[in-house]
Symmetry: C2
Subunit: 348 residues, 2 copies
């Protein structure tokens, strides 16, 4: 994420502190997953390669810095604000997220993730299911030892919400009548809740008061929703090489994305009928590069569906930045704003 953005000069110290802290997060992450069983270590090493944008840990750390400004404590250099608890909670959020990636790949029968083969592809669904469970257990084990009971409650609640959102999404698979309200309810739970929790906990661990914690939570929630819409768009229009994972999967797995929901709810019956039969054909073809999938993408792009989804993502980013304005200005806050803009321009 950071490599995508230009770092404003006044944010240099915050960026440096976060960069250094991310290194510590990675070490904690690796240490916590390590085991004395070689075959288990082998799988763990594979999953370490999944580490990508580190969005959630970065949010814990940056909101930790920005939240310190709200705490009314003595101003400290960024490098001394981030505690072991920040590092632990950052690693916890990434582990929980990584577990959902590993399990999602099983559900989606995906072959590629971060330009490498998925665990399920290489080692079978069984290994992927248990490895995901191992990651979740490691996350909670770490969290329970971080000396931050409130973080444990928040991470537990968010994880439960993520699962409920995924179950709701599964219930609406292949449901071409899915409306926008339900779409946003799913996204809010399955994607935005953990991102909001990461942002809020970072600030909480720096002693930020209730009002500031709520602002960071609202910021994370809006950012998370925008992030998911951008994911929808990338699945449709992304380049598999750049995205680093299989594209066209949403369509193939019957997941209704925002552009598709928009198209089906606004086009005339004839166009709607044509789209539904194209979806059916695309599912039969089961390969995103096949003609039906390409035709779907071109219909969604030439209608207002893709631009509508893009506008919705932009408005959530505007809302996220609005939430930030209620907390004191700082180098970290500027970085959070720059990160928000980068969500919309990211190609992966």
């Amino acid at each position: 994420m950071q490599s995508l953005i230009d770092i404003p000069p006044e944010s240099a110290a915050a960026a440096e502190a976060v960069g250094e802290a991310l290194g510590r997060v990675q070490r904690v992450f690796d240490d916590e997953l390590s085991t004395d069983l070689p075959p288990v270590m082998d799988l763990v090493r594979h999953v370490e390669r999944y580490r990508g944008k580190m969005l959630r840990p970065t949010l814990v750390l940056l909101c930790g810095l920005a939240g310190h400004e709200s705490a009314g404590l003595q101003v400290q250099p960024p490098g001394s604000i981030l505690s072991d608890a920040h590092i632990a909670v950052a690693a916890v959020c990434e582990m929980v997220h990584m577990a959902t990636l590993v399990h999602d790949d099983v559900l989606d029968e995906a072959d590629t993730r971060r330009r490498g083969a998925t665990v399920n592809r290489l080692r079978g669904n069984e290994a992927a299911v248990i490895l995901g469970d191992y990651l979740i257990a490691a996350a909670y084990h770490l969290c329970s030892r971080a000396g931050t009971p409130r973080a444990c409650v928040a991470v537990g609640r968010a994880s439960k919400t993520v699962c409920a959102g995924e179950l709701l999404q599964l219930h609406h698979r292949d449901d071409s009548s899915l409306d926008e309200d339900t779409y946003f309810e799913i996204v809010d739970r399955k994607t935005a809740s953990l991102i909001a929790t990461a942002a809020e906990l970072g600030a909480d661990l720096s002693g930020a008061p209730e009002a500031a914690r709520s602002a960071f939570s609202a910021f994370g929630r809006s950012l998370g929703i925008a992030f998911q819409i951008q994911d929808d768009l990338l699945d449709l229009t992304g380049d598999e090489e750049v995205v680093g994972k299989s594209v066209g999967k949403d369509l193939e797995k019957g997941k209704m994305t925002l552009p598709m929901i928009r198209y089906l709810s606004t086009e005339r019956p004839a166009a709607r009928g044509e789209m539904l039969s194209l979806i059916e054909r695309a599912c039969d073809e089961r390969a995103p590069s096949h003609p039906a999938a390409a035709q779907i993408a071109s219909l969604l792009i030439s209608s207002d569906a893709v631009s509508y989804a893009r506008e919705r993502a932009e408005s959530y980013i505007a809302r996220a930045k609005q939430s930030l304005l209620t907390v004191p200005e700082s180098g970290a806050r500027r970085l959070l704003a720059a990160m928000s803009d980068a969500v919309l321009t990211r190609g992966y």
Copy 2:
């Protein structure tokens, strides 16, 4: 479990207290899983039917009572010893266990559990994977609110150990050279660790000192190993109607059970070779009632393999009861001993 044992008269008060507390555990279990999303509720209701022996919650509660005697506190009637934390931790252990059952059924492609269809059979693997995750998240969320940080650490550690054990087992799937040491390492991690934790936490929550906590942990560990050996035996010789789940699954899924390991490591090369080709045929037939599976069962029974496994289970039960002798005598302790014996006589 309790219905299988004769309750000694001096244990009547303990049995009544545990019976009443188990009712509270079930209510907490149901409350924690309930959600405002009807399709999720629908899946949760299905899983509630899985509730069977309630071994782990029963251990938390009984060790809670027996541990109180070690705490050096004023003697109280059993009904007033068990706290909300005991109830919460009992429900947590059952949720973690239930999650592993739901995921195991996906891994084993099992169709039947507790005489009903499995989630994966009814709703597909996707729903079963996420539902298991939902159960784990609910378990941690509940644990983090129980005001017992030590329990959170212990449950996190045990869950991680269970997963590592399952990954090790998966690594040795179809490994006909698996030795007893590795078998016991797998069993210790995947089955005994959570049972040991349930027993230890029950006593811990009653204020039992370190030595007593270790005794309860050792008790649970031996009990758990015996429990798993009995599971192996039931998969081989059990009646599907009585066991309430698919039998012959271990064989079909390439899991080496203790009788099989014994047979392969002690029989002469010719008998060994015959067994290996029978296993291959049984796997091809993929149905436990087919001729090869029946022949395998009969070979294992007529050799010393089954009786050897039974003796090993008996010796672990003897060890479990030995561990109990180091804690003060009580009605609850007697019930724990009676429960241990019942592990060997259970048909399900």
